[in-house]
Point group: C2
């Protein structure tokens, strides 16, 4: 269109692009392709009947309130439920008045960026980092610094150096079964990294969507619990209940909480009254612990199946993580092998994954890729990894 090409957009829009992953997903949606590309929970685990009853019940019983506008902060009983669960499941005391219900935990990233980041400020991410964070923060034109991880979490030396930089506002960490790497911070690493944050000007923004999905090892306290008033802690119902509700939350110190509420009012007034009340009804009339245990058993089987298939079918020179929970395995190809080239070839083999490059805001990561195991059957995992292994063998020999 003639005039469109002349349209002037805000400067922040020049640096952001459509989600690369969502574009890939469109390509790989053919029914005969086995896709490890998405990041979807297993819909077979959804408590659909229980949710049908819960939604019907709140609307029949409290329809006028359930369909009306409600407070920006969120449904008070749901906020108390979240605080209770922190106490019973993580041993952490949280003030329900400092919990803000959000439209998915993704919204927390937008609100935190709005509250804390001016153009040119520094935001520290893990390397590789969560793509949703890169997208949300990009719109506020920060300088990204990404810090490498090992099996115990972010590397302390590089983190210390990054935190001592200029105008460092936020350190965004996903401490349990990180997306995309599957890595988890050890207790010691949490404490040491928290000390570095406490000594800096930055705020810790700890995201924890997968924390309850631990298949082995001990539940660890959030890094935020070692940061006192220097931390924002995010949570989500997407992986333990249902992503279609778009329900997450933020726990923040009072001064940040107040700014986040202002930003949320401006963003969408409040999160759906219906979804909040229906979820609360579900939570208080069902056994969530039993439900989460069922998810964990299923996902553990899927992870084990994928790890075994990788060991069987992948060439020896391919490295990968062994996550203690969550939904993802991270693969490092031999240097020089491009995951993007591999994906092009993999489509011929009827298998798909996400190339790792988008998780690197600074470029790099060309030889990495992410595999999701939660949304495929064991048969699909075995067959898909076998196909990917064959494709890899081909590419390693021919250098694609």
């Amino acid at each position: 269109m003639a005039t469109s090409s002349k349209r002037r957009f805000a400067r922040r829009m020049t640096s952001v692009h459509k989600s690369f992953i969502r574009e890939i997903l469109k390509v790989t949606e053919k029914p005969d392709v086995i896709s490890f590309a998405g990041g979807l929970p297993n819909p077979g685990m959804f408590a659909t009947e229980a949710f049908a009853k819960a939604a019907e019940r709140v609307l029949s019983r409290d329809g006028a309130i359930t369909l009306q506008y409600s407070t920006t902060e969120g449904f008070a009983p749901l906020r108390r439920w979240i605080a209770d669960r922190y106490r019973t499941h993580k041993g952490v005391e949280v003030d329900p008045d400092l919990i803000l219900i959000t439209t998915g935990s993704q919204q927390c990233l937008d609100l935190a960026a709005k509250a804390l980041v001016d153009a040119g400020d520094t935001v520290i991410l893990e390397r590789p980092g969560y793509l949703g964070s890169i997208q949300a923060f990009s719109l506020f034109e920060p300088r990204f610094v990404q810090v490498e991880m090992d099996d115990e979490g972010v590397l302390l030396g590089p983190l210390k150096k990054a935190l001592s930089g200029d105008r460092v506002r936020v350190f965004n960490a996903v401490t349990n079964f990180q997306n995309p790497s599957g890595l988890t911070y050890s207790l010691e690493r949490r404490k040491r990294a928290a000390e570095l944050v406490n000594d800096s000007e930055a705020v810790l923004l700890e995201d924890d969507p997968y924390g309850e999905l631990r298949f082995e090892g001990d539940t660890l306290p959030p890094m935020a619990s070692f940061c006192r008033d220097k931390a924002i802690l995010l949570g989500s119902f997407s992986k333990i209940a249902a992503p279609g509700f778009r329900l997450g939350w933020m726990v923040a110190p009072p001064d940040i909480y107040e700014k986040a509420v202002i930003a949320k009012q401006a963003a969408d007034l409040h999160t759906s009254t219906l979804t909040q009340r229906a979820l609360f009804e579900y939570l208080t009339t069902n056994d969530l612990d039993a439900h989460v245990a069922r998810i964990k058993r299923g996902y553990k089987r899927q992870r084990d199946c994928m790890l075994e298939a990788i060991q069987q079918y992948f060439p020896e020179r391919v490295d990968y993580t062994r996550p203690e929970g969550g939904m993802f395995i991270w693969v490092r190809l031999p240097d020089g092998l491009s995951a993007l080239d591999l994906l092009e070839k993999a489509v011929d083999y009827k298998v798909a994954f996400v190339p790792g490059a988008p998780f690197y805001a600074d470029g790099g990561g060309q030889s990495t890729l992410r595999l999701n195991f939660s949304n495929s059957s064991e048969e699909q995992i075995q067959e898909g990894v076998k196909r990917l292994g064959a494709c890899l063998e081909h590419c390693v020999k021919k250098a694609c």
Copy 2:
């Protein structure tokens, strides 16, 4: 807290404050106060049983899809439903592929601001303007210019002057039964204002949450229909179905649409799958036209009741609008009388309203106030206006 006071927030947070109206609502929530302060639809009109059935049905029938992540653009059948309704009810052709489902139409304001407004850019609003717009745009640090209105809409001379200013990006208009003034643009004013937009660098951002709630006169085409690819048109299910769903939409030219989708991905990934599918189920198994007709009959009675009571009880020197639809009447007090002072006194008289000052981004409006008629019974309206009239008489005599 010691460290909190030293915290550095983003510059954009310095100019915004908590919603003044929401703070007022907290004060006026005492049960013996008759409040015309809120902007709530009448919950007695909500189709609670039909929604209970619709939610139960989609979850029982399509639970796995209804609880899963879904596309950023929104549920395709719902987008087609919206396009159909534009055709049948407004005579406007809209491409469903250019409809973006949002978490309430409030989110559209955030997305449009993100896509179009850099710090220092000019945003034109009506005077008085919608508070949600002022809040959403404020976070992107624009220069606001507000343009006065008369009974036919925004004044063309001042609009032309404003549009010819420097770095004018957006003209945000609420063309039907505006919040807060209750004013509606005439057909002629829509066309003439649209011409001015077409000759400018600005994008029209037309908000229309109340358009279907017309009690008298003819339905008019949106101003956007005279702007071709220079307009974004917003809509909402909050006033015709239920605000608790948080469901609105944006119709935008292709290039703006693409940016809005990117911004929405970063903001909350997508709007709740459950609310979209439950609403669509309701829309396709119930008679929305009959439901809207019922709302209009009720609100018209409430408006008539309030206008009659105002005529009976208010002092002669008080001026007010006679809206053809919507939910609000706008009151102009004799010069020198402060609506904020009046509110303080009104609490003694057990009646509440919203002072007009927050609707003026440039200051001013001290002698104006907004009355909501949709959320009070006729008895409450008569008694509340009587109380407010007595309070006004008192203040006019004593100059409060």
